[in-house]
Amino acid sequence: MENLSLEGALTVTFVRSLLAHANIVDVDATAAEALPNVQVMTAADLDLGVFGPGFPDVNPSMGRPLLVVDRVRFVGDIIAIVISDDSATGADAAELVYVDYDQLPAVVSPHESAKDEALLFPEAGTNVATRAGSPEHDENLFDGCDVVVSGTFVSQRMAPCPLEARSAAAELGPDGRITAWLSTQTPHQDRTALAETLGLDPAQIRVVGLDVGGGFGAKTLNVEEVLVVWLARRLGRPVRWTETRSESMTALPHGRAASLEYTIGGTRDGKVLAYRLEVLQDCGAYASVGAVLPGLTGLMASGVYAIPRIEFESRSVVTNTTPVSAFRGAGRPEASQAIERAIDTFAAELGMDPAEVRRRNFIPTNAFPYTTASHAAYDSGDYEGALELALRSVGYDALRDEQRQRRERAATTQLGIGISCYVEITNGIAEIEFGEVEITRDGGAIVRTGSFSHGQGHETTFAMIAAERLGLPVEKVTVHKGDTDEVARGTGTYGSKSTQIGGAAARLAADDVLEVAKQLVGDYLEASPADIVLDPALGRLHVAGAHSLGISWADLALRASADGRLAELRAEHEFQAAAPTFPFGAHVAVVEVDTETGRVELRRLVAVDDAGTLINPLIAQGQVHGGIAAGVAQALYEDFVYDDDGNPLTGTFVGYAFPSSADLPSWEAVEMETPTPLNVLGAKGIGESGTIGATPAVHNAVVDALAPLGVRNVDLPANGENVWRALRKAKA
C-alpha cells in the first residue's frame, strides 16, 4: 500500500496519548507549527461526530470520538493530527505538540471496571457496554449431576499483527469525488461507513483496496482512515498515512481479552448434563466489535456436544486499553477454549480418558441438522469421525503408553497429550455476496467479486470456480476485487465467509453467463439455445450430439465483438446464504514440559479440519497452517500486557512474543470433507478453524503433562513462566 505513488501528497502523523486515562487541559502546537509547512489540527477543527459503536444493543455513549475532545481513554488515543510534507518532519512535529494532561486513575482490569467505581464515560453511569445471555441462574441447572466441576481462565489479549501495518491515502478528484486507498478487508462496507460518517452520498466515494498484507479481522474502517479521507476533502490536497509498527501495536484493535468461568456437571459414567459459561469481555477504551464478541461465544457454547442444559451470561466492559475487535476466530475461540477445558476438567475429575468422555457426549452424526441448547443450528458434521481420524493419525495409544512410562519413572520432562474437538460458525450472519462474470474479447473471463482477499488466495480459488464452470483454463480467468467503482456491490472478507458466498456467487454468475452464451450460440448456429451444450474439456459450445457444430469461447468472443454483442456475455449474481455453516474438526497436540524449569515444547500437532468441500486444497491447507500458528501463538506465546497505569508493556515486536519459525513445528494437517447442503459448492469457511482448534488442544496438552504433579490449570499463554507458577501453586 505504501507503494502507491501519489503526486504531491501530504503526510499525516497522529499525535497519540501517552497516558491511559486523563483529561486534556491544553494542546499547544506552536512549536510544531514553526516547522516548515506543518499544520496541526485538533478536535476543535473537526466537524464530525463520533465513530461507532455501530451495534444497536451497545451503550451509545461509548462510541469513539474521531479526535479526542477532552479526555483520553487509552495509550494511543488520537489527540491531534500533524500535516507535513514528509514523514520525518511529521514525526519531529508530533513530538513538538505539547499536551497538558490531568491524569485520572486508569481502569485496566475488566474485573475492576465491572465494579463501576471509576467510570470511563461518566455520562453513561456505568462501564458496562452491553450484556448477553441471561443473568438469571437456574438453581436446578446441575440437578441429577454426580459430579460438578468448575474453572476459570483468561483468553488473553492478542495483537493481530498483520505483517503490513495499516496505510491509507485519499485524494479529491476534480469532479468532487473522493478516492480512498485503504489497507482494508472490506472496501464496500468502508465506502458506506465513510459516507455515513462524513455525511456524503456513497456515490461520491470510491474505495480501493490494494494489495493488503494481512488483516486477520482487525483491518476494517477505523478512525484513522476516516480522518485521512476527511483531511483530503478539507485540504483539497492528496494525503497519506502509514502507521509504524509500534503505533500499530496500540492503535490497531486487539483481539480476545475475555475472562471465562465455566461449570460443568454430569454423571459418573461421563455423560454431561449441564454447562454454565460466564464471560467478562474487555472492550478496551471504546465499545465496538469487541463488545458483541461474547454473543458468538454464547452461541457456540455447546461445542460439539449434545448438552441438555446450558446457561450463558456475558458482560462487556470498557477499560483504559486499546479497543478490542475481531481477531482470527472472534468470539468462537473463547467458546472452544472454555468447553474443551471444561470437558478435560470433568474427565480428570472422573479419572476417565478425555477422548472417551468426548465420545460419550458428541452430537451423533445422524442428528444433523441439529440445534444446540445454546441455540446454534448446525448444518452438518461428523465429530466422532474427526476425533477418531485425529487419534489414529497421531498414534494416540502409543503416546499414552509413552506418557505412562514417563510418569512411572517420574521423568523431569513429562509428556502431555491434548485433545480439542471444535465446531465453529462461519458466514455468521448469513450474508449476501455479489459476483459478476464477463467474457472478454479474447475469450477469457473476468470475475468481479464483492468479496476481498488479503492473502487468502481468492484470486486463484474464484478463478478456478469460474474456469471449471466455463471450461476455460484457469489462466484465462482473472479476478477483480476491491475497487468500489469497478465492482458494483460487496461485503468484503471476514468471518470465514468468502468462498462459501463469494465463491458461490462467482459460480452462479458463471452459470448465468453460460446461459447467455447459449442464447448467442443458438443465434449464430441457428439452433435452439436449449440444444446448446458446453464441452468443458475443450471450452467449446456446440449443438448437443453434433460436436462439429460448435464454437469455442475465443471464436464466440471474436464474433460477438464484431457484431457489437460482446456486452451480452456478462452476468451478475447475488448469492444469499440461507444460514451460516459450521466447520468442525479435531486437533491433538503433543507437548513436552520440563517440570523443573516450566519450559514447554510443542512436539506435534495433528489437525483434522473439515470445512466441507475444498475448492483448492493447497490454499485451504495454507489457511489451516496459518490458523494453527495463530492458535498455538495464543496457547504458548503471545499476550498483550499493560501495567497498572495502563501503559502497554508489549508495544513493539521486541516485547510481544510473535512466534518465529524456530518456535513452531511443522503441522500434520489431515483432510476431511463433509459438504454443507447450504451452498452449491458444499464449502464452509476455513480461515479461522485452525486457530479455534489449536489453542485448546495445546492448552489441554500442557495441563495434561502436569496432571500427575497436581496441576489443574495453567494460565494462557502456557509459557515457561506461567507453567512454573502453576507448578509452584500445585506444590503449595
Binding site: E2, N3, C161, P162, L163, E164, A165, D211, V212, G213, G214, F216, T244, R245, S246, H454, G455, Q456, G457, L618, I619, Q621, G622, Q623, H625, G626, G627, I628, A629, A630, T652, F653, V654, F658, S660, S661, A662, L664, S666, W667, G690
Partner: protein, 154 residues
C-alpha cells in the same frame, strides 16, 4: 549530505544521501525498488531483508552510507530475465506465501541461508530463518519451500 557509491542488483549507482537515511528507504524511495518491505521498527521482522555482499542484512537497521562500496541485492535482482530464481520458484510452487508481505525478506534470507548451508535440516532451516516473521503461513510451507530449493540446488 554524504555521497555513496554502491552496486544495486548489478547496476552502479552514486547518490548523495542524508547520513540518517536508512538503506531500506534509500532503496525504496531513492531507487524505487519497492519490493523491500518494512514490517517493524525494532529490527524484529526481517521483511526488509536484502543481501549486502551476499550476506542477508536487515536493511531497516543499516544506514545507506554503511552500504557504500558494497553490492546490494534486493528481491528485484534475483530473477534472471523471465525465470524466477530457484528460491522464488520454490516459494511459488510450495504455496509458501499468502499475503506476500514477508516474502521478499524470506526469499533473500533463504538465498543467504542456502549459500552457507546448502543442505539444512528442518531445525537448521527454522533456526536460520528465526529473524523473519510471517503472520499468514504458520511457516509450514516456507520450510517446505526452503527444502525444495535446497533439493533444486539453489
Amino acid at each position: 549530505m554524504t555521497s555513496v557509491a554502491l552496486t544495486v542488483n548489478g547496476s552502479r549507482c552514486e547518490a548523495d544521501v542524508e547520513p540518517r537515511q536508512l538503506l531500506v528507504y534509500f532503496l525504496r524511495d531513492r531507487l524505487g525498488l519497492k519490493g523491500t518491505n518494512v514490517g517493524c521498527d525494532t529490527t524484529s521482522c526481517g521483511a526488509c531483508t536484502v543481501l549486502v555482499d551476499d550476506e542477508s542484512v536487515k536493511s531497516c537497521t543499516v544506514f545507506a552510507v554503511q552500504a557504500d562500496g558494497s553490492e546490494v541485492t534486493t528481491v528485484e535482482g534475483l530473477a534472471r530475465g523471465d525465470a524466477l530464481h530457484p528460491v522464488q520458484q520454490a516459494f511459488h510452487e510450495q504455496h509458501a506465501l499468502q499475503c506476500g508481505y514477508c516474502t521478499p525478506g524470506f526469499v533473500l534470507a533463504t538465498v543467504s541461508l542456502l549459500k552457507e548451508n546448502p543442505n539444512p535440516s528442518e531445525t537448521e532451516i527454522r533456526e536460520g530463518l528465526e529473524g523473519n516473521l510471517c503472520r499468514c503461513t504458520g511457516y509450514h510451507n516456507i520450510v517446505k519451500a526452503v527444502q525444495a530449493a535446497a533439493r533444486a540446488g539453489a
